[in-house]
C-alpha cells in the first residue's frame, strides 16, 4: 500500500484553513495554570497519602494520587505536540519533567506518537492500534497496562544499550538514533540515582509516592484511552476512526481536554485549551462521539462478547444515541 493511501485525513473535510487558524494560538498562561492545578493536586494527594500511612485512609488517598499521576499522560502528550506552552523552552522543560515521572523517553515517545498520528487506525502502520479481533483477555490485559508497561520497559531498558526494536525503527530518522540512545542513558542514570539515594537513606518515599501509584493508576488511564480509537472504523478517515468522549469537567481538566480526541487528531496544531471551542464548531461532523467512558467501555466489551451486535450504538449515519439526542 502506498504511503498516501494510509495517511490519516479529514481536517480539510471539517474546517477550512481560514477557520482553523484562530484555534491554533498558543499561550503560556493556559499551560501554566493547568500545570499548576495538576502539580498542586498531586502534592495534595501525596500529602494525603503521607497523612494516611498506616490507616485504611491510605486506600482512597492512594487511589487519588495514583489517578492523578496516571493523568500525567496528558501533559506528556500535550508537550510532545509542543502545544502546551507558547514558549518552546518551557514546553520542553516541562516535557522532560513529566516524561521522567510518567516513565517515557521524550524523543522516542514524540516519534512514536507522530507515527500514530500519521497512520491512525491503519493496521500494520499505527503503533497504538488495539489487537485485531480483540478478545476479553486482550481487553483485560490492555486495561491492566501489560501492553503499555512491556513496551515502555523495552524502551527504557534496551535503548540505553542502543537496542531499538527493529519493528519500531520506522518511527525514527537515522539522525535521531544517537539522541534517543543518549536520552535513554540519561533517564537510566537519573532513575539509578533515585534508587541509590533511596537505598542510601533507607527511604521508601520514591516507592510510596511515585512507583507504586504510578503502577496502580495506569489501568485507569488505559481504561480511558481505549475509548479514543477502540471499536472505531479501521480507516485513515479521522472523522470516523477516532472518538471524542463526552465527560465531566474534572476529567477534562486533568486529562488536559484530551476527551476531545477526534478534534485533536483532526487538528493537532490546536492547543488543549481551544479544543472545547473547536468541538462546538465541528461536533456534527464527528462519528462516533462517546456518551461517557463507562458507556464506551461497555460498548467495547459488548462488541467483544457478541461481535457485530451493533453494541457501539450507532445508527446508519454513525451517530450514537447521545449525538442523536443532542
Amino acid at each position: 500500500m502506498s504511503v498516501e493511501a494510509v495517511q490519516a485525513f479529514g481536517q480539510k473535510e471539517v474546517l477550512t484553513k481560514k477557520e482553523y487558524k484562530p484555534y491554533i494560538v498558543r499561550t503560556n498562561r493556559h499551560g501554566l495554570v493547568r500545570f499548576a492545578i495538576h502539580a498542586g493536586a498531586l502534592m495534595a494527594s501525596g500529602a494525603a497519602v503521607y497523612a494516611s500511612l498506616g490507616t485504611w485512609w491510605i486506600v482512597p488517598s492512594m487511589a487519588c494520587h495514583a489517578i492523578l499521576m496516571a493523568f500525567l499522560f496528558a501533559p506528556v502528550h500535550e508537550c510532545s505536540h509542543r502545544t502546551a506552552f507558547r514558549n518552546r523552552t518551557l514546553n520542553e522543560a516541562v516535557y522532560w519533567i513529566v516524561c521522567l515521572v510518567y516513565m517515557v523517553p521524550p524523543t522516542f515517545f514524540r516519534y512514536a506518537h507522530a507515527t500514530h498520528h500519521t497512520y491512525t487506525q491503519v493496521r500494520g502502520w499505527d503503533p497504538d492500534m488495539l489487537p485485531e479481533n480483540m478478545t476479553l483477555r486482550d481487553y483485560v490485559l490492555f486495561v491492566l497496562g501489560t501492553t503499555f508497561w512491556r513496551r515502555n520497559f523495552r524502551w527504557l531498558l534496551f535503548h540505553p544499550f542502543g537496542r531499538i526494536d527493529p519493528k519500531q525503527r520506522y518511527y525514527l530518522p537515522d539522525s535521531e538514533i544517537p539522541k534517543v540512545i543518549r536520552e535513554a542513558r540519561i533517564i537510566m542514570l537519573i532513575y539509578a540515582g533515585v534508587a541509590a539515594a533511596a537505598v542510601y537513606y533507607g527511604s521508601w518515599a520514591p516507592l510510596i509516592y511515585w512507583i507504586v501509584p504510578r503502577f496502580v493508576g495506569e489501568p485507569y488511564m488505559r481504561w480511558l484511552r481505549i475509548s479514543e480509537h477502540g471499536d472505531c472504523e479501521e480507516s485513515p478517515d479521522l472523522r470516523r476512526n477516532t472518538r471524542t468522549t463526552m465527560t465531566n469537567r474534572l476529567v477534562r481538566c486533568f486529562f488536559w481536554e484530551m476527551p476531545y480526541h477526534a478534534e485533536h487528531h483532526l487538528c493537532p496544531l490546536v492547543p488543549f485549551h481551544a479544543l472545547s471551542r473547536l468541538h462546538e464548531k465541528i461536533r456534527d461532523k464527528l462519528h462516533p462521539v462517546g456518551d461517557g467512558y463507562l458507556a464506551v467501555n461497555r460498548q467495547v466489551v459488548g462488541n467483544i462478547l457478541s461481535p457485530g451486535s451493533g453494541a457501539m450504538g450507532l445508527d446508519e449515519s454513525g451517530r450514537t444515541a447521545g449525538q442523536r439526542s443532542a
Partner: protein, 103 residues
C-alpha cells in the same frame, strides 16, 4: 541554470501565509512574509504532509501533521520530528507575478 518559471500571482498570498504550487512535476510552497516572498519544497521532509496546509509562525512554517518546523528563509529543519532540511528556491517578483527557478 534553469529558466525562471511563472508560478503564482503575488496578490493571491496573504502576509504570513503560504500556498502550494505545482511546477514541472514539483510541489513547492510559496510564502509571503513581512519582508517578501520565499519558496521551499512543498512537501514535508518528515512524513510527506503538504506544508501549505500548515501555518506560518514567526518566520517558520509549522507542518500540519506533527508540528515539525522549518525556517522559511533557509529551509532548515528546526524542530523534531522534522530533521531533514527543505530545499529553498530562488524567487523574484515581476509585476504581480511570482517567478521561481528550480535549481
Amino acid at each position: 541554470m534553469s529558466d525562471w518559471l511563472d508560478v503564482a500571482n503575488a496578490d493571491d498570498i496573504d502576509e504570513d501565509d503560504v500556498i502550494q504550487v505545482e511546477v514541472e512535476g514539483q510541489v513547492l510552497a510559496i510564502y509571503r512574509l513581512e519582508d517578501g516572498f520565499y519558496a521551499t519544497d512543498g512537501i514535508c521532509s518528515h512524513a510527506e504532509a503538504c506544508l501549505a496546509d500548515g501555518f506560518v509562525m514567526d518566520g517558520f512554517i509549522e507542518c500540519p501533521l506533527h508540528q515539525g518546523r522549518f525556517e522559511i528563509k533557509t529551509g532548515k529543519a528546526r524542530s523534531a520530528p522534522a530533521t531533514e532540511d527543505l530545499r529553498t528556491y530562488e524567487l523574484k517578483i515581476e509585476g504581480s507575478r511570482i517567478l521561481v527557478r528550480l535549481d
